[in-house]
Amino acid sequence: MDRGNFARVLAFFLLPAVLIYSIFSIYPLIATIFDSLYQRHEGGPMTFNGLNNFRTLLGDETWSKPFWNAFRNNCLFFLIHMCVQNPIGLALAALLSLPRLRLRNVYRTLIFMPTMLSVVIIGFIWQLILSPLWGIWKMLLGALHLGFLFGPYLGQEGTALITVSLISVWQFVGIPMILIYTALLAIPDELVDAATVDGLNQWQTFFYVKLPLIWPTIGLVSVLTFVNNFNAFDLIYAMQGALAGPNFSTDIMGTLFYRTFFGNQLQLGDPTMGATVATMMFLIIMVGVMIYLFLIQRRMQRYAF
């Protein structure tokens, strides 16, 4: 194939993907970053503003307080997913891969089910369950003589974010489970047999043979969790509203962006400040993913069996 022909073939195969990706992903991203460098004037054209929007967002207290609050909350949101969702997903995957387990497919489907439901439905169901008036959770705790543990979890500043995070964990625990389960299935049976002949019991086989082999998958799950958590918005919006109450205690980057960009109640929408928040979200996620790629993934080895 000569050079000109090769270029044409290359273009033929790559162009559709490049085109779609550029229109729907690259262009909006670049446009957002550009918007964050401008200032909008009521009824007038936008003017170039340099990095002043960022200075305002991080330096002016009316902006920086909500921003850091949302950032802190978002970190906690992520931490809860990392410490609860992923270990539980790992444990469930390990249980699912037990050779003697029966009804494996039933469990797998049931645990994965919430992931497929709409976030709005999840939020609504849990609001009903946790309702202080007639929620089933209150009755359950009461029946167990644990009624003193009950509180209006979603309405208290100290508990709202943790509660919402745990609901999100409940919804998405199926994803780490499925990914890790697949990785466990890829480990050849003979390797487990070899470990058995070497005298390892099932726990030891898991910790010394299987776990080291699935670290790359756990790393991948962690990055996915990070990206999804810092892009999260819908569950908070569905359960706590755009104001992410009570008193912004469940406010995360996504909800902050929503209020800034589209406006809410007494706040007017501000596209350029919204773009600034969105750019910050992009930068945070990029830094996180970079840290993973350059510091963690390089030290991990993938194993082909």
């Binding site: 003979e190 047999d193 058995t196 002949v197 194993y303």
Partner: protein, 356 residues
């Protein structure tokens, strides 16, 4: 003493019996090869001895100890797997010493045993490498090394050469034979490759459909197959088979009238239908009219020898080993004569008919 004795071993998966009344003695220091077509139960038998498969009946003794209820690690066995099953995340040294770590062996002893095994297998320079940095043959040696450091009573090999290329397979085969002599080890070895079986074994166990068909020294199986299955399975290319009828005290006749003199036991009456078996190396081409008659279809030339494929009128195919350049050409009518001293007769149930 590390003999293995298996008595009346039974195993089934639901309705399917995969091992039917297996009885087997493996003497101390002997090399026993389990051979058979896929699905014959040879690997299941090996895994049962290892303790990786539970059995439904019978008894397994290793070194005079009943091991039925012991986990694999307590049976004093070591196993080499088909895919080698090396731990990908550990270097060679750790792979070999891994089992000992869990047996609470002191560190110095682990190091000493690993070095010893590495010396025997010439792996010293590779100790710090990971499995993926090794070639197939090297991985194979590490897998064997992992078995050696356990100092087992019995080595179990599950088709260890099938992942190697042809040249390496021959080499490794020789290595394993040497190792057997060197370690004076008791080895049970599973393969579907009869060349491996013939060259390595002190004793071959031919299995078929969960049953042992015959046990014996390699050449005994070759010269005195106990039944049609073994006759067919041992020897390559397979033995030629012809349907014949007994027509006299020491005479059988094929359906197209060729008559052969054979040694028959007295108890066989005239008219009895038998199967006559003759290996390609024990028959020769002749002029048409001699022996059985057929048409030459093709000659496979392997170099020093060749195999002439003869189509018989009954639609059967007969293979004849030829040396040099036969004059016959494709489609020509040829005769095939049999060597009366090297014929096998089987009755209708497939059992060998031996002259008394």
């Amino acid at each position: 003493m590390s003999q293995v004795t298996i008595k009346n071993l039974q195993k089934s998966y639901g309705q399917v019996d995969v091992l039917k009344d297996i009885n087997l003695d493996v003497e101390d220091g002997s090399f026993v090869v389990l051979v058979g077509p896929s699905g014959c139960g040879k690997s299941t038998l090996l895994r049962s001895i290892a303790g990786l498969e539970p059995v439904d009946g019978g008894e397994i003794n290793i070194g005079g100890r009943r091991v039925n209820d012991l986990p694999p690690a307590k049976r004093e066995i070591a196993m080499v797997f088909q895919s080698y099953a090396l731990y990908p995340h550990m270097n060679v040294e750790k792979n070999m010493g891994f089992g000992l770590r869990f047996a609470d062996t002191p560190k110095e002893e682990i190091a000493q045993r690993v070095n010893e095994a590495a010396r025997i297998l010439k792996l010293e320079s590779l100790l710090k490498r990971r499995p993926r940095e090794l070639s197939g043959g090297q991985r194979q040696r590490v897998a064997i090394g992992r078995a050696i450091v356990r100092k087992p009573q019995v080595f179990l090999f599950d088709e260890p050469l099938s992942n190697l290329d042809a040249a390496l397979r021959v080499n490794t085969r020789v290595e394993i034979a040497k190792l057997h002599k060197l370690l004076n080890a008791t080895i049970i070895y599973v393969t579907h490759d009869q060349v491996e079986a013939m060259t390595l074994a002190d004793k071959i166990v031919v299995m078929n459909q969960g049953r042992i068909e015959q046990t014996g020294k390699p050449l005994d199986l070759y010269y005195k197959p106990a039944n049609k299955f073994v006759a067919n399975f041992i020897g390559s290319p397979a033995m030629n088979m012809l349907d014949v009828e007994v027509t006299g005290k020491s005479e059988v006749r094929t359906s197209d009238g060729a008559v052969f003199t054979v040694r028959l036991p007295k108890s066989i009456p005239n008219g009895e239908k038998l199967t006559l078996g003759a290996r390609p190396e024990h028959v020769s081409l002749a002029l048409p009219g001699k022996g059985i008659t057929g048409h030459l279809d093709l000659i496979e030339r392997l170099g020093e020898i060749g195999y002439a494929h003869i189509d018989l009128p009954q639609g059967q195919r007969f293979l004849v080993e030829v040396r040099g350049e036969p004059k016959a050409v494709k489609g020509q009518q040829v005769g095939v004569t049999l060597d009366a001293n090297n014929l096998h007769l089987f009755d209708s149930s497939g059992q060998a008919v031996t002259p008394i």
